[in-house]
Symmetry: C3
C-alpha cells in the first residue's frame, strides 16, 4: 500500500467550514449569574423561546451536528444531567456521558480537576461540570480552552437553574417588573433562591422571604437586596404572603438542619403548600419548586393550573439549548 496514493476519505474542498457567529456568549464560560445583565437575559430568553417552538414543532435540529458535549458530573444529578443531555441531542450534537458521580478512574488515580478538564476538552467542544466544591467551575474554566458551563459547584452557584427559574416567571406571567416574588423554605442554604434573588435584583420586583428563624436568608444577600432599594420583607409564615404573591418559590425545609426537633415540628406545617392554602392565592400567580420535593407541595396542588413546577423543568431544557447554541457560536 502506498499511502501517497490513498484515496481521501473526505472531500474537504466541498465541506462547509463550521460557521460561528459572534454573540455575547460565543466561546464564553457560564459560571455565575452575575455574568448576565438584562440585555443578555433578554437575548437568552428570546433564544429559549425559539428552542421551545422548535421542540414543539419538530423535536430537534442539526445546528450542533459535529459538536460533542462532555457531561462531567462528579456527583450525580439525574435532573440536571438529563436536561443537558436532551438539550445537546435535540440540537443535533453528541454527548460523552460521565454522569454517575462515582469515582472516576482518573480521579481515583489522583488526577487533578485541571488535568481531567484539559484531557476531556481534547475530545469535546463544550464541558458541563457538576462538582461538589465551590469555585471548581471557575478553576475548570481557567484551564479549559473550550467553554465550561457550571452545572452546580457545591455551595457556590448553579446559574442555569437560576436562568430557567427567571425564564419561567417571565413566560408564565408575561413580565418581571412589578411582580411580588415570595421565596419559601430553606433560604439559608438554598443555592437556587440565592441565585434567583441576585437575578431578580435587575428588575423592579418586591421580595418576600419566608423561612424558619434558623434558615433565614443570609446577611450578605439581605444586604444586597436592601442596597438595591428593593421592597423586601421577611416572615416565618406562608400565610403572610400567600394572598399577594405573584410567585411562590418553594424549597425544601430539611429536618436535619434543626438541632431542636421540637422546633422543626412546630414550623414544618407552615411550609406545606396544599390545595386548601392555594384557595387564598391570587387567580393569576404561579407556584414554583426546583425539585425534587418531598412533601412541601402536596400532590393535590399538581392539577392546579398555577402549579408551574413541571413546566419549569421543561424550561430548563430550552434554556440549556439556548446556552449551548450560544456558547458554540450559533447566534
Amino acid at each position: 500500500m502506498n499511502v501517497n496514493e490513498l484515496t481521501p476519505l473526505f472531500n474537504f474542498a466541498e465541506m462547509q467550514p463550521r460557521q460561528r457567529n459572534s454573540n455575547g456568549l460565543t466561546g464564553q464560560d457560564i459560571i455565575s449569574v452575575s455574568q448576565f445583565d438584562r440585555d443578555l437575559l433578554d437575548y437568552v430568553f428570546a433564544r429559549a423561546r425559539e428552542m421551545r417552538e422548535l421542540v414543539q414543532r419538530v423535536g430537534g435540529t442539526d445546528i450542533l451536528k459535529g459538536h460533542v458535549l462532555t457531561a462531567l458530573f462528579y456527583e450525580p444529578s439525574t435532573r440536571t444531567s438529563a436536561s443537558f443531555i436532551a438539550a445537546m441531542e435535540r440540537l443535533g450534537g453528541s454527548v460523552i456521558p460521565i454522569t454517575q458521580g462515582v469515582q472516576f478512574s482518573s480521579v481515583s488515580k489522583g488526577e487533578t480537576l485541571a488535568d481531567t478538564i484539559r484531557t476531556l476538552e481534547q475530545y469535546s467542544d463544550v464541558i458541563v461540570l457538576r462538582h461538589p466544591e465551590m469555585g471548581s467551575a471557575q478553576v475548570a474554566a481557567d484551564y479549559a480552552e473550550i467553554p465550561v458551563i457550571n452545572a452546580g459547584d457545591g455551595p457556590g452557584e448553579h446559574p442555569t437553574q437560576a436562568l430557567l427559574d427567571l425564564f419561567t416567571i417571565r413566560e408564565e406571567l408575561g413580565m418581571l417588573d412589578g411582580l411580588k416574588v415570595a421565596m419559601v423554605g430553606d433560604l439559608r442554604y438554598g443555592r437556587t433562591v440565592h441565585s434567583l434573588t441576585k437575578l431578580l435584583l435587575q428588575y423592579n420586583v418586591s421580595l418576600r422571604f419566608v423561612s424558619p428563624e434558623i434558615l433565614r436568608m443570609p446577611l450578605s444577600y439581605m444586604n444586597q437586596v436592601i442596597d438595591a432599594g428593593v421592597d423586601v420583607r421577611e416572615t416565618h409564615d406562608v400565610a403572610d404572603v400567600i394572598k399577594n404573591a405573584d410567585v411562590l418559590y418553594v424549597t425544601r425545609v430539611q429536618k436535619e438542619r434543626f438541632s431542636d426537633l421540637a422546633q422543626y415540628e412546630q414550623v414544618k406545617d407552615q411550609y406545606e403548600i396544599t390545595a386548601e392554602l392555594m384557595t387564598q392565592a391570587k387567580a393569576k400567580m404561579i407556584v414554583m419548586h426546583p425539585l425534587p420535593r418531598v412533601g412541601e407541595i402536596h400532590y393535590n396542588v399538581d392539577k392546579d393550573p398555577r402549579a408551574a413546577y413541571f413546566r419549569q423543568v421543561q424550561n430548563g431544557m430550552f434554556i440549556r439549548m439556548a446556552l449551548l447554541a450560544a456558547v458554540l457560536g450559533k447566534a
Copy 2:
C-alpha cells in the same frame, strides 16, 4: 442588543412539522402482553421484519430524528437497556441513558416515581422503565403524558421480552399455529415463561411444562391454559418432551430456590441441554433461552443451527425498533 431585531436561528416556515400517523399503538403505553391481540401482533411482527431488513441493508434510518428516549433503569439490565438504546439509535433518535441501576440523586433525596417520571418526560418523547416493583410501570404510565414502555416491573411483566420470544418462534419456524412448545426450568418464578404462555394462548399450540416439583407453573397460569382448551401436560423430565417439541424454551433453575439441596442435585441434570440430548430432538425445531444462562444449555449446543438464543437476542432489537416507531406515530 435589541432582541426584536434578532435574526431567528430557525426558519420554522420551512420546517416539516412532525408527522404522526395513527396506528393502534401511537401514543400508547406498553405495559402488558394482554394489550396485544393477534392482529396487533401481526402488525408489530410485520414492522419488526422491516426493521430487520433495514438493519441488514443499511444499519439504520432517520425516522425518529428529533426524538429522545429516556432509558430509566432502577435496576441494571445490560441486555435490555442495550437493546433499547441500539433500537432508538438505529432509528435516528437519541437516548438519555440512566441505566446503572444505582441510587439516583433524586431518588436518594426521597423523590417519588411519579415525580421522577413527570420530570423526565419534560425532556423526552418516550420513557423505557425498568423498576423492581410490580405495578410500577402502570403507575408511571398513569402519570406520564408521553408513552411509557415497561422493560420489566419486578415479578410483574416484561412485555417486550414476550413479544421478541413469540416473534422468534414465528420467524424461525414460519408459523405459530400447530406448534408444540415445551418450557423448561423454573416455571414458577420465571416472568418470561408466564408472559409467553399468555401470548401463546392466542394461537392453536400444544404446551409442555417441564420443571422440578417445587418450580411448577403457578395455578393461575395453569388454569388460564386449561380454560383456553389448550393441549397441555406437565412433567419433571426433559426426556419426556425432547422428541416432539418444536420449541424448547429453557430457563435457569436456580439452586437458591431449593431448601433441600439433595433435591436440587437430583433434578439439575434433567435441565441441562447438551449436544447429546439434542440428537433426540427433531431436525426442524429451535432451542430458546432468555439469557443469561449459566449452564442449563451447554456450550456444545451453540453451533447447532437449532440453537436460536442469540438470534432471539437480535430479534429483541427489531421488536423494540418496531414498538418505538409505532408508539411515536411512525406507522
Copy 3:
C-alpha cells in the same frame, strides 16, 4: 388491520446499501500492536491525519451513520472510554455506553464473557472492550463475528494507546527513523512503554530506558530490543538522557511498588520532570505521558511548547476514528 396491505415504512429500493471498501483492517479485530507493520501504520496515520483535519474544519461527519459501537468497560477508564465515544460520535455513529465498570447485571448473574459478547454483538457493529484479564480481548474476538477492539486487557496490551503514542511522535517531530527515545519511570509494569517499544522496533531508533533498579524493563522486552540490533542503554537517572533525547516518555513511579520506602524516597526526585530540568533538553524535542500524572511532570512544564501530553490525548481520538472507520470498511 390487514398486514398484507400495510404501507411499508421504508423504501428499500431507494436506499443505498452500506458501502464497505476493503482495506487491511476491514472486519478485523484490533487486539495487539503486533498486527501492525510499517505499511499498516502508515495507512492508519494517514487516515488519522484526515480525521484531525475533519475535526478541525467541521467537527464531524456522517460516514458511520447507522453504525453502533458498544463500549464495554469491565473496569472504568474515563479517558479511554470518552475517547472512543467521541471518536464514534464524530464519525456519525452511535454508542451503547457500558462504561461504569460496575458489576453488570448479566455478569453478576454468572454470564461468561463469551455470552456477553455474543449478546451485545447482536445490537452492534463493533465492540470496544476493556477487561481486567490478560487475553480476554482475544477470547472476545474469537467469539464475536463483528470487530472487537482491545481497549486494555489487564497486564496484556492496549494497542490503541501505543498507536496514538507512535502517531504523536511522528506528528510532533516529523519522522520516526533516527530518533532517540527515552522512556522514564516504571518500565517493569507499564503496559504503554512495553507496547510502544514493540512498535518502535520497526523503526531505526535509539532507546534509553530510565528506571529505578526494581522497575527495569523486563528481560523479554530487553531481549527483543537487543535482538533487533537497536542502540539501547539503561540508566537510573533522567539526567543521563535529558540532553540528547528527542522524546522523553514519562510514566508514573508508584510508591507501592517499593517494599523499602527509603529506596523510593531516594529515587523519586530523579523522575520528576521540572521546568528547570527542561532547560537542559534540546530545543526540538517532546515530553509525553500516557496520563493521568500525579507529580512526575510538574505543572510548570505544561506551558512549554515541548510538553506534548495533551496533544497526545487528542491524537488518541484521531487514531480511534481512523481505526473505527477502517474496521467498519470506510477505506
